[in-house]
């Protein structure tokens, strides 16, 4: 059996976990074995008697739709609040019990964290952020492809171990339901933690305030060195307000203290996938590009027609952002007034 690690949010199985389930089913199919899941619940759902959370009836149906025949619900008082060490140790213990050929998890922050913990505790290799896994005919040296440099490079690698641990790069696999078994078996798994188990404890959780977030925005108006100063972001703020979007920025803007780091788009910032990304005075260095390349369309505003972001963009305006943006804001206002 191939084991998929599944994260559950308020709305059921999370999108990145559907990707992991899809890849797990492909790998299981090529090995001729079933897919099973281990359920990692988020802390937002409702409590139920087993100490697992989330609405398990929708989860059950979703898992079945993705071909899962059996899933393991991890329960233990130390798992009620998220703890990287306890969750990782629990997965490591389940691996020891089931000895699956592979465990496939979402490449979310939490997925990567739990799998790193499990890999360390079970002394197994982990390939993070994979796009493909080829289980091979001989079942020994599996080949896989993973992202490097935030996705600017691909690495073909071989993974050799009794259990191969893999996380799936977000967006790399198209989630696809598969032949559903009549019913999915659910079994509980209770890990055994010793008295002296060292771990960190979650002590505080603050919900994000409502509003458009960078990661979820339909439009991102982003500024770089070409914006010139913190004040130079005023027309970007205005355009974001008029378009219901969020303001982003390049690392130069954060390093200069013009914007908080939470606004940074890129490899060490946030990855965005809006319908439109408006890049103002940003050159398009690879580390920035990997953060915005998921946008459906990109509009670059830049004085340099040869800037990498201009040549890669869907649309471009050649000019000074300090002149172009106020004119765009005026034009939107003028049309709204005469509409």
């Amino acid at each position: 059996m191939v084991l998929a690690l599944v994260e559950i949010g308020e709305a059921g199985v999370q999108a990145s976990s559907l990707e992991a389930l899809t890849l797990a089913r492909d790998v299981a199919g090529s090995l001729g074995v079933p897919v099973e899941a281990v359920v990692v619940t988020s802390d937002d759902g409702t409590d139920d008697d087993a100490g697992t959370r989330g609405d398990m009836s929708t989860v059950d149906a979703e898992l079945r739709a993705y071909g899962v025949q059996r899933y393991h619900r991890m329960t233990h008082p130390l798992l009620v609040d998220y703890s990287p060490e306890c969750w990782g140790e629990a997965v490591a213990q389940l691996i020891r019990q089931l000895a699956p050929p592979a465990v496939i998890a979402p490449g979310s922050d939490r997925g990567n964290e739990i799998m790193a913990q499990a890999a360390a505790r079970a002394d197994l290799p982990l390939a993070a952020n994979c796009t493909t896994v080829d289980a091979g005919a001989d079942g020994s040296g599996w080949q896989l492809t993973r992202l490097r440099s935030g996705g600017m490079l691909l690495e073909d690698a071989q993974i050799t171990a009794p259990t191969r641990l893999v996380t799936v790069a977000t967006g790399a696999v198209e989630p696809a339901p598969g032949p559903a078994p009549a019913a999915a078996d659910s079994v509980t798994f209770t890990p055994d933690f010793g008295e002296s188990f060292v771990h960190s404890r979650l002590t505080e959780r603050a919900q994000r305030s409502a509003g458009v977030t960078l990661a979820g925005a339909r439009v991102v108006v982003s500024g770089g060195r070409g914006v010139g100063s913190a004040d130079g972001f005023a027309p970007l703020e205005e355009l974001a307000k008029l378009t219901g979007g969020a303001v982003g920025c390049s690392r130069v803007a954060t390093n200069n203290g013009w914007r908080p780091h939470t606004d940074q788009v890129g490899q060490t910032g946030t990855k965005v996938n809006p319908d439109l990304y408006i890049a103002c005075g940003i050159s398009g260095a690879t580390q920035h590009w990997v953060g915005c390349m998921g946008a459906k369309a990109i509009l670059a505003i830049n004085t340099d027609p040869e800037a990498p972001l201009v040549t890669r963009a869907t649309y471009a305006v050649i000019g000074d952002v300090g002149e172009v943006l106020p004119a765009v804001v005026d034009e939107i206002r003028r049309r709204a007034a005469t509409a």
């Binding site: 790193a116 360390a120 440099s149 490079l153 690495e155 960190s200 603050a206 305006v317 172009v324």
Partner: protein, 250 residues
């Protein structure tokens, strides 16, 4: 802390495709790790103690160690793993062994800071493996650290998709930090002079390879797009707003 390419352009591959062509590259400290060094230096400035910076990598990584010293770190340790990239299990083993050796002499480090992931290999696991081997608590993705030495505890804050989480961990502990934790300082002239003269402990390491072996690197296929030019300067505004209307954004 890891020596990584500083390239802003598209990476070039070596002739055999096994590595990035580094002949014309500058190298740097990973941004996450620059924040780790900054945090360590400012924690020590507030609470006392000293900062040791360790890198596992090629001998040339002494350049990045010097940078760390110029930022205010007290000691540098180079774990020489040779010119070729080694896998994450082997990297963690080399760092664990070196840390044990250092701690055997001077006692445990109260806090070990890692970058969340390296910008080139992006394995997301070296710090976690080291922390597990040393039996320390470990939280990744951290963007805020408060130490209470008297109570022997750390409060570790991080951003998650739903908001903010704070963890409490007993010391000694380990964390993997992300950019945004702080704004790293520019090295002072005095720091740079000190770094030039600094001497490092050098440890040799040849750890057993783990189960993940790199075969080759490839460039992903590029989506080619013909850029549609909407115009020049302020005169392009109507065309931009036409586009926003077409995309049903305004």
């Amino acid at each position: 802390m890891k020596r990584v390419p500083a390239s802003g352009g598209a990476p070039q591959l070596s002739a055999d495709g096994r590595d990035v062509d580094t002949r014309h590259l500058a190298f740097t400290v990973s941004p996450h790790e620059e924040c780790a060094i900054e945090e360590a230096v400012s924690l020590v400035a507030d609470l006392g103690g000293s900062v040791t910076v360790l890198t596992a990598g090629p001998a040339e990584a002494d350049e990045q160690l010097r940078y760390a010293i110029s930022m205010g770190a007290d000691h540098g340790v180079l774990v020489d793993t040779g010119p070729d990239e080694i896998d994450p299990q082997a990297t963690a083993a080399a760092i664990t062994e070196a840390t044990r050796a250092l701690e055997a002499e001077a006692g445990p480090f109260d806090l070990i800071l890692f970058g969340n992931e390296s910008p080139d290999a992006g394995n997301y696991q070296v710090g976690v493996r080291v922390a597990c081997a040393l039996n320390r608590p470990m939280v990744t993705g951290v963007k805020g650290i408060e130490l209470d030495l008297e109570a022997g505890r750390a409060a570790l804050r991080r951003h998650v998709p739903t908001g903010v989480e704070v963890y409490d961990a007993p010391l000694p502990a380990a964390v993997a930090v992300k950019e945004g934790l702080n704004l790293p300082r520019y090295p002072s002239m005095r720091g740079r002079l000190r770094a030039r003269k600094a001497e490092f402990a050098v440890l040799e390491a040849a750890p057993e390879p783990g189960g993940l072996r790199k075969i080759r690197l490839r460039l992903p296929e590029e989506k080619r797009s013909e850029t549609v030019l909407l115009g020049q300067g302020a005169a392009a505004a109507p065309a931009v707003v036409d586009l926003l209307e077409e995309l049903e954004i305004v």
